[in-house]
């Protein structure tokens, strides 16, 4: 056993409720390494992480075979709770990690658990908050923080205990792209200032690739597929990863696409954008744009001078028959408020909304929601029956048609299951499908692909493709906007600052920066290329 290895795992096997999650895992992690733990959904990554600091098997009545040692000592040798100080975890859901009401109290909670003398507590709290940039929020109520700030707080709570290892379990899964990259930056900064061993479980790899020095890959059966440097992992191993359904960094994906088109002349697959660009013969268009020409210019929803909730100011927009629309903007810009106004769910203080040439306020709810649908962000909030079949059949005149719809969304085998028992992706598909049973003129979707992997996102877009009516999506996903949308409306601080095609939006750097949007990858590459050309030329 190498003296450098901080964590050693030998022949680990974990099972619970008659399922074996992973088996025969042997690996080591050295002090202050940065490890990326990869694997398809269900491969047991989180389970493995929780076994490393002994949260499992107790928490779920599971059975762990094999041995794990930390710093040379077997995990069993540590006292209850002792290991939690040395190995900290930041979890996925910003909403369910805390137990106190304010930031200060939450950080203090961890310190109290380890009998830190009261005199030392305040300085430790301040130091931890400083590291993550939350000093100003010390007395703030946690509920009022943004998702990104909450994750930073979770990190601060861990840092206050001065751990040697920090595990991050999909910390950006529920964050928008901007907060995600901020969080990664924060962690990179902290690691430089105050070294620790980092273990990250992530799907969204792009921000992390530069920080990582080791990749541990699990396959769908829970066996160890790969243990080595990222260049090798995403280089030679990329096809294996793809086969397992593991995401690759966008840069690698792009290079693979370019390679198959014969456009990539680099020797190995790149990890960084700069490497990718160096290996490209010429600007390569990566887009798979699925554009629809706007067939019908007839307006179905017209909004004039809308003011609402003291937040939205003077909104004017029109949605046309069959149009694919996106509503984008940073958090707090008012996207959800606007969409609820358009659906008639919340009242407006001023202004005029006409749906199908009649004022929205005059529509009877029963009739309105036959022609206007709304899909909520959390699919569970929408289910009103006990079975998948009933969800689709509800409100359908011809109940037999429900089955064909189930087939279309791939849920025919789950017809009798309870909607809540489905996987996240299945729930999403079901919630979208329940709205599709009526031929609506307008379907509004609130973040339909949020927190989803790329496959589910495209599945949902495919389901919507077949739909004849107009669709309006609230989204952070600019790739989606780039590929599928006809018109994009940009909101910032309650005002509509842009309405036009996606292409014209990407050209408008000022608006993109004002609304804090990240242009799609192909556009980023194009911009980089242009910049390099200019640089090379000068």
């Amino acid at each position: 056993m190498s003296p450098f290895e901080q964590i050693n795992a030998e022949r680990l096997e974990f099972s619970y409720e008659d399922r074996t999650i992973f088996t025969d895992l042997t690996f080591s992690i050295g002090k202050n390494q940065s490890v990326l733990l990869l694997g398809p959904s269900g491969s047991g990554k989180s389970t493995l992480a929780f076994c490393l600091n002994r949260l499992y098997p107790e928490a779920v009545d599971g059975v762990l075979k094999g041995s794990i040692s930390f710093g040379g000592h077997k995990l069993e040798a540590f006292k209850a709770g002792e290991l939690n100080q040395k190995i900290g975890i930041v979890f996925q859901d910003p909403e369910s990690q805390f137990c106190m009401l304010t930031v200060e109290e939450e950080v203090a909670f961890g310190l109290e658990n380890f009998h830190i003398p009261r005199a030392q507590m305040e300085s430790k709290i301040d130091r931890a908050l400083e590291l993550v940039g939350l000093e100003a929020e010390k007395k703030t109520t946690i509920h009022t923080l943004s998702g990104g700030q909450k994750q930073k707080l979770a990190l601060a709570c861990v840092l206050a205990l001065e751990p040697e290892v920090i595990i991050l379990d999909e910390p950006t899964a529920n964050l928008d792209p901007l907060s995600s990259s901020e969080l990664v930056e924060t962690i990179a900064g902290i690691k430089k200032e105050r070294p620790f061993t980092l273990i990250v479980i992530e799907h969204k790899l792009d921000d992390w690739v530069e920080l990582i020095d080791t990749c541990l890959v699990l396959d769908s059966n829970g066996s160890l597929l790969f243990d080595g440097p990222p260049a090798q992992c995403f280089g030679e191993f990329a096809p294996f990863l793809k086969k397992e359904g593991i995401w690759l960094p966008k840069v690698v994906e792009a290079a693979l696409t370019a390679k198959s088109a014969g456009m990539y002349r680099g020797e190995r697959l790149p990890l960084l954008k700069s490497e990718l660009l160096a290996g490209l013969a010429q600007p390569f268009d990566f887009s798979k744009k699925v554009s629809k020409t706007l067939a019908n210019k007839e307006p179905i929803l017209e909004v004039k001078g809308l003011h609402a909730r003291g937040h939205l100011k003077n909104i004017n927009l029109t949605i046309h028959k069959g149009e694919q629309v996106a509503l984008v903007g940073s958090n707090g810009a008012g996207k959800t408020t606007l969409s609820k106004c358009l659906a008639g769910l919340i009242p407006v203080t001023q202004g005029d909304i006409q749906f199908l040439a009649a004022p929205l306020s005059k529509w009877k709810e029963k009739d309105l929601f036959q022609l206007l649908g709304y899909v909520f962000q959390n699919p569970e909030h929408q289910f009103i029956t006990d079975s998948v079949f009933e969800e689709i059949a509800f409100g359908l005149k011809d109940r037999a048609a429900a089955f064909s719809i189930l087939e279309k969304i791939g849920l025919e085998n789950h017809a009798n299951a309870h909607p809540f028992a489905l996987s996240q992706g299945q729930k999403r598909r079901l919630s979208v499908a329940t709205m599709l049973v009526h031929e609506q003129e307008l379907l509004i979707l609130d973040e339909p692909t949020f927190g989803q992997d790329a496959n589910t996102a495209h599945e949902i877009m495919e389901i919507l493709e077949g739909k004849s009516g107009a669709v309006m999506m609230i989204t952070h996903d600019m790739e989606l906007v780039d590929q599928y949308v006809d018109t994009v409306h940009v909101l910032d601080a309650g005002e509509l600052i842009f309405s036009g095609t996606p292409e014209s939006l990407w050209e408008n750097e000022e608006i993109v920066n004002q609304a804090r949007l990240q242009p799609p990858f192909r556009k980023q590459l194009q911009n980089e290329f242009v910049r390099r050309e200019i640089h090379v030329a000068t």
Binding site: G88, E112, N113, A154, I384
Partner: protein
């Protein structure tokens, strides 16, 4: 000296004991004096907005009136009561009327004491005090805290559910079976989500080293001082004094006289 600074546990005990003592008496004067006393303390030492107070108090006026007329119409009849009016099995007596007013005032006295507590005590302080003074196990107290934290989130989810029900056309429920279905449609998604959040939160708390052990150094200490005990004695004495005043005025009625 403000009510906000009085030790929450002692404040709570003062209220509870006061209520237990007040329940002994069936006359209108005892609760009336208590009400005056409680309201005065609340506003002099409490620094509360009148608007908030009235908002909390108003519903109790309604409840008090119900107590009054229920007792008036269905009084416990005893020999020597003056009958004012009779109709079928309903009998209205002067004593019944007085009992009614007494019970109504009792409800209001409880309300004023409760509001005094509610408006001058912070939830976190209360839990900390329960742990530090009443020796409540941390596993219980922090467990309560963790669940309590979800209130704003659950309220938001409730509103989203209301909207979603409108969109799917199930917002109206008229008959009893429909109302039960509607209850189910709210409670089950809220509970399913809440239980999952509870499990994740427990895991997160344990990952920060929480074991529920009682030996704990608190970041914030809730103190007990002589002033707190003075407050307690003052409150209890005030209630006893109210009864005394009632006796002096000849109104006092004891519980055991009733049975």
């Amino acid at each position: 000296m403000s009510l906000h600074e009085v030790n929450p546990s002692i404040k709570a005990f003062a209220v509870v004991i006061s209520i237990l003592i007040l329940s002994l008496f069936f006359d209108p004067i005892t609760p009336l004096v208590t009400i005056t006393w409680a309201i005065s303390i609340t506003f002099i030492f409490g620094r509360i907005s009148f608007k908030k107070w009235i908002l909390l108090f108003a519903p109790f006026l309604f409840i008090a009136i119900i107590y009054v007329w229920s007792t008036m119409l269905f009084p416990r009849l005893q020999e020597g009561h003056t009958v004012l009016w009779q109709w079928g099995f309903l009998t209205l007596t002067a004593e019944g009327f007085q009992r009614g007013v007494s019970l109504g005032l009792r409800v209001l006295s409880f309300a004023t004491l409760s509001i005094m507590f509610a408006l001058t005590t912070k939830p976190t302080d209360f839990l900390l005090s329960l742990m530090q003074q009443c020796k409540m196990p941390p596993k219980l107290a922090y467990g309560i805290m963790a669940g309590y934290r979800f209130l704003p989130l659950i309220k938001e989810e409730f509103q989203t559910l209301q909207n979603a029900h409108r969109v799917r056309g199930v917002a109206r429920a008229r008959t009893i079976p429909e109302k039960v279905q509607q209850l189910k449609r709210y409670v089950i998604p809220l509970l399913a989500g809440a239980i999952r959040k509870a499990e994740r939160t427990a895991l997160a708390m344990e990952s920060k080293g929480f074991t529920g052990e009682k030996n704990r150094i608190f970041y914030r200490e809730i103190t007990v001082s002589r002033i707190d005990w003075l407050f307690f004695i003052l409150m209890i004495s005030a209630v006893i004094l109210s009864a005394f005043i009632s006796w002096k005025l000849g109104y006092l009625q004891f519980y055991n006289r009733e049975l």
